[in-house]
């Protein structure tokens, strides 16, 4: 009886949590299907209106910026390139860093790892001026590389891979050695396939992280053609309902990628080997 009650109680708490998360999104979605007049006079709407097609088509045909160089498609493309680039580079760099830290005879490997790890305490916003100056010296301002490179080394992903590698028994390495696997082959033939689920999890993590960037893209690009979706949310001109529609659309790519890869994502985060 108590168990029945407590399980119901925890379900109730979870349901409340879901409502708290969902309601704002729903309000924006419902509001995006009304006319701007209704929103401006009556506030956010809870029920669906009849302007869904009209409002969303307008966003899809939007041309923004001073020179009208940027479209919604281009913004999605930019965000996609940036997020994918960040995800790819940070997964690859973390995989390799963790490999070196765990398997190579590096002096002070643990110390080095913790130095890498404390960079978590130094967010991009804190180092934004030196980072900008580096990018400008390298002539990467106003380019995709400028958007991607400064945020594509992840201490968190390095931590995950390092902890995972540490659980792999030494015999596997020894056995591979006797089977003629060199340093590179062991990485490619063993560590990469074994950490497949974790790679996918980290990829999603970093994809969403890259997709959500706002301050850095604004600083490092001045050309309209590099606007990302998140920048567009702020920069976009037009009526309130079109902005709402764009907010809803901007959520689709990260949600989509999580839905498609969620099986790996959960396995990777809660790896119990």
């Amino acid at each position: 009886m108590i168990r029945y009650f407590s399980s119901n109680f925890s379900h109730l708490i979870l349901l409340i949590g879901i409502f708290i998360m969902i309601i704002p999104v729903w309000l924006i979605f419902a509001s995006s299907t009304h006319t701007a007049l209704i929103i401006n006079t009556q506030g956010l709407q809870f029920f669906l209106g009849d302007k869904f097609l009209e409002n969303y088509t307008k966003v899809l045909l939007y041309e923004g910026g001073f020179f009208k160089e940027i479209t919604v498609y281009k913004m999605f493309l930019n965000s996609f390139l940036m997020a994918t680039g960040v995800a790819f580079l940070s997964v690859i760099s973390s995989l390799m860093t963790a490999y070196v830290l765990v398997y190579f005879r590096v002096k002070y490997a643990t110390l080095l790892f913790w130095i890498i790890f404390i960079t978590i305490l130094v967010p991009l916003e804190l180092r934004i001026f030196p980072t900008y100056s580096v990018m400008s010296t390298l002539n990467l301002v106003n380019s995709y590389w400028g958007l991607i490179i400064p945020i594509s080394a992840s201490a968190i992903a390095t931590l995950f891979f390092r902890q995972f590698y540490k659980t792999i028994p030494d015999e596997l390495l020894e056995s591979a050695k006797l089977d003629g696997a060199n340093t590179w082959r062991f990485f490619i033939d063993f560590l990469v396939p074994l950490s497949k689920t974790m790679i996918v999890a980290m990829f999603i993590f970093m994809f969403v992280f890259g997709y959500n960037q706002y301050l850095w893209p604004i600083l490092v690009t001045s050309s309209e053609q590099y606007w990302t979706v998140v920048m567009g949310l702020k920069m976009m001109s037009g009526s309130i309902v079109n902005k709402f529609a764009f907010v809803i659309m901007s959520m689709i790519p990260p949600v989509l990628i999580i839905i498609v890869l969620q099986k790996y994502f959960i396995k990777g985060i809660f790896q119990d080997k």
Binding site: E171, E174, L178, D179, G180, F190
Partner: protein, 350 residues
């Protein structure tokens, strides 16, 4: 020149622990050598030095006429079976077997042929497409051996490969390893702490203690003629009985009985060793045993009892003999099958 030569091989770990002391030995081509000893005696370290997984601090190792001290493990042409098998979890059985061959640049057709041959030999042909996680302990064991066999190496190294199996399977696999080795004829070194495994598998046996080879010989030689108290106690099951005593002028006095005409010139405190199976019941025997406990194994009975000051003295008799707890037995030592050791250093003196 022998096939495998160890010359004063020494291992000192960076923290100063000396795991292996100046060990020298030879293994002949096709021989099945077993290293046996208690855990932490350095037997695995010795094996790992032959495999190239541990650096050799001093001394040298020759394999097939080539000095291999500095040769990379992958170039030594040795194959090893690990205690937990170390199968590649993300590869199916076929690829587990084929991986070492692929790295050696062997053509696809040859790999397929070799893998299929090995699989047939080990009766794992049906499992080739399965992942190791879908196999039972015994099957994994076979795959691990298959991975060694398929490369046709100069030498097989086994690092306690049977200790993860249950008792019944262990005996079965022990038999199969022995048969397989005889069939394939590859020189093998097998590390174990189980003396029964050691006795049954070995052509020759090296009993290792504290990083030193205490005795090297065929199992029967070692059983019949242990050179030290350690070897005598380690080889043989149940363990040899040890009694304290004194040897003066060829007369040994111990726990209320005397043995005359001991073939030894040693004088002083000694330890007398008698194997449980080397005694028999008579009317007026040397040793008077009051029985505390009877273990009936079916074929044999193990009788534990007390003689004067010595407790848990073990005597083995045929299972058909009925002996009751609390009864008194009179025992004689058969054919002077007893061992006398110097009490101070454990060396055999008779």
């Amino acid at each position: 020149m022998s096939f495998l030569e160890l010359n004063k091989v020494t291992k000192i770990y960076p923290n100063g622990t000396k795991a292996v002391h100046e060990t020298s030995m030879n293994v002949e081509n096709g021989e099945f050598m077993v290293f046996v000893g208690p855990s932490g005696c350095g037997k695995s370290t010795l094996l790992r030095m032959i495999a190239g997984l541990e650096d050799i601090t001093e001394g040298y190792i020759n394999l097939d006429g080539i000095l291999i001290n500095k040769v990379d493990p992958s170039d030594r042409d040795v194959a090893m079976v690990f205690q937990n098998y170390a199968l590649y979890p993300h590869m199916n059985v076929y690829n587990n077997l084929a991986y070492g061959l692929k790295n050696r640049g062997i053509s696809k057709e040859d790999i397929e042929k070799k893998v299929n041959e090995a699989a047939k030999l080990l009766q794992i042909s049906e499992y080739l497409q399965r992942k190791p996680s879908m196999l039972s302990g015994g099957q994994r064991q076979r795959v691990a051996m298959g991975r060694a066999i398929v490369r046709n190496p100069k030498i097989f190294l086994f690092d306690e490969p049977l200790s993860n199996l249950d008792a019944k399977l262990r005996i079965q696999m022990r038999l199969e390893i022995k048969k397989l080795q005889q069939k394939v004829g590859v020189t093998s070194i097998f590390v174990t702490h189980d003396q029964v495994e050691a006795m049954t598998l070995a052509d020759r046996l090296a009993v290792i203690n504290n990083g030193l080879i205490e005795q090297l010989g065929t199992p029967i030689e070692i059983y019949n003629n242990p050179k030290s108290m350690f070897v005598a106690g380690f080889i043989g099951s149940p363990q040899m009985n040890f009694l304290e005593g004194e040897l003066i002028n060829k007369t040994l006095t111990s726990e209320g009985f005397e043995i005359n005409n001991v073939t030894s010139d040693f004088n002083g405190p000694v330890i007398l060793g008698i194997r449980p199976e080397h005694m028999s019941q008579t009317d007026k025997g040397l040793i008077n045993l009051s029985v505390d406990l009877v273990e009936q194994l079916g074929s044999d009975n193990l009788i534990y009892g007390e003689i004067k000051n010595k407790k848990d003295f073990c005597f083995r008799c045929p299972g058909s003999q009925i002996i009751k707890k609390g009864s008194k037995l009179s025992l004689n030592i058969n054919d002077n099958n007893y061992y006398v050791f110097d009490k101070s250093n454990g060396n055999r003196v008779n």
